[in-house]
């Protein structure tokens, strides 16, 4: 009966070394996977975080809904023009002129909205521009400050110690009138007045929702001097 050959000490040592190396290799592999996985997260998160992405998705949904509505309006206008004669064209053009005059602030307007009152000392033109932009982002479709109509392009500047809209000084308190979706604008107005009340320069900041807000102030259209239609 032959006895099983005992592995030589050299072979035993080499077997253990292989096991240790295998374990080490496995550890290295797992560690590499782990590091690469985290690196992938880091790389893909560069520039924008998931919360911002979620807000962006919300904004894009809202934007696309608005674009769809515009597209539907234009398709309707095109159908009207295709189906009618000059009478239809006159109606379409008159309606568009009326709409664009309201967009550009050339005519008085009214509608649901909010009235915000801010009594403060030392607020600047940038503060007012930010406030009006926030309201516009929040759905304001027509705005006025102390009975001065404001649309994008109307200069709001620091004028000495005060703020001027289109060259006219607007003294505190500011009454900002905004027409649009009352619920959405009220949310913005609520956050804005809350923030303003924490500002040492502000004595009082409040808002009220109204079913029908009139904006009587209008802008005078300035003819183009430099721009040429393409």
């Amino acid at each position: 009966m032959s006895s099983r050959p005992r592995p030589s000490p050299r072979r035993r040592t080499s077997g253990r070394a292989v096991s240790v190396w295998l374990i080490a290799l496995l550890v290295a592999l797992v560690a590499t996977v782990q590091i690469r996985s985290e690196a992938e997260v880091e790389r893909t998160l560069v520039g924008i975080d998931t919360t911002s992405l979620a807000f962006l998705i919300d904004d894009l949904h809202r934007a696309n809904e608005s674009l769809q509505a515009e597209s539907a309006d234009l398709a309707q206008r095109k159908t009207t023009l295709e189906s009618g004669g000059s009478g239809a064209a006159d109606q379409v053009l008159s309606d568009e002129a009326k709409h664009l005059r309201a967009v550009e602030g050339l005519v008085p307007v009214h509608g649901p909205g909010v009235v915000i009152t801010i009594d403060a000392t030392g607020l600047t033109a940038l503060d007012l521009q930010d406030a009006l932009n926030n309201l516009a982002v929040g759905g304001a479709e027509a705005m006025a400050v102390n009975d001065r109509r404001v649309v994008a392009g109307v200069p709001i500047e620091q004028n000495g110690g005060g703020v001027a809209i289109d060259g006219v000084f607007v003294a505190a308190p500011w009454t900002i009138t905004a027409i649009g979706d009352s619920n959405r604008i009220a949310e913005v107005a609520d956050a804005m007045t809350l923030q303003l009340r924490a500002d040492r320069r502000v004595r009082q900041a409040s808002y009220r929702i109204e079913a029908d807000v009139p904006i009587k102030a209008v802008i005078s259209e300035k003819p183009f001097v430099y721009a040429i239609g393409s």
Binding site: L26, V33, D59, L60, A63, A75, G180, I228
Partner: protein, 235 residues
């Protein structure tokens, strides 16, 4: 022999620790990546839809214009109305225009040493808003930002490093603001060191870029999005 046992024990302990780590963290980043990628895909899909609808809007406006031109050719009254609307459209940014002006380029700077919580080196929507307001105050007659026309209803939003204008997709650095109007007046205002104080401060702190050049002829595209004001009634 003892050393091999020690190595084996250390290796096993490391293995258990790694396994624990894998269970605790490896899956989480993988899920984070998947969730992040799903969000990115949603944004990309929505941006593609956004571009499609804007293209459709531009096409519809061109078709309407052609139909109105045809109708105006048949009636002097329609022609007069069309001229009025053409002028209103130009002021609303609905038609392309060109003329002398300035091009302002805004670009991200470099993060500061404690950049973890600071985003001051990134161009943000307030920077764009401030530049546009300055240019309008100095006689700009029309402005576009990275090819998006500014209108009377324009609003700016976004998060750090992202600029959203109206219903358009997010823009990021570099941002090019193109303004047609009184070129000398706009250039003088941009040269004024007291103008755009926040941007100037970040130019020093983060090397934020603000450069501009004048040009005898710049092109502005027509606005391709919505000007709807459903809650406003003309009195």
């Amino acid at each position: 022999m003892l050393s091999l046992v020690v190595v084996a024990v250390v290796a096993l302990t490391t293995g258990f620790l790694v396994a624990g780590q894998v269970r605790a963290r490896l899956l989480t980043p993988s899920n984070q990546v998947a969730r992040y990628q799903a969000l990115v895909r949603s944004v990309q899909d929505l941006e593609a839809t956004n571009a499609d609808i804007r293209g459709k809007i531009a096409a519809l406006r061109a078709q309407i214009d052609a139909l109105e031109t045809e109708a105006a050719g048949r009636s002097a009254a329609t022609q007069a109305l069309r001229d009025q609307v053409a002028d209103l459209r130009a002021h609303a940014g609905l038609t392309a225009m060109h003329g002398p002006g300035v091009e302002v380029r805004l670009a991200n700077g470099v993060p500061g040493p404690d950049a973890g919580a600071q985003t001051g080196y990134l161009v943000n929507y307030q920077d764009v808003q401030d530049v546009v307001n300055l240019l309008f105050a100095q006689g700009a007659e029309g402005i576009s930002v990275n090819g998006r026309r500014i209108t009377p209803l324009t609003a700016y939003s976004g998060s750090a490093g992202q600029v959203i204008i109206d219903q358009g997709p997010p823009l990021s650095s570099p941002i090019k603001v193109t303004a047609v109007g009184d070129r000398n007046r706009m250039a003088a205002a941009l040269d004024d060191s007291s103008a755009l104080p926040d941007i100037r401060a970040r130019q020093v702190q983060f090397q934020l870029h603000l450069i501009f050049v004048g040009s005898p002829d710049l092109q502005l595209p027509a606005y391709d999005s919505s000007l709807r004001i459903p809650h406003v009634v003309a009195s």
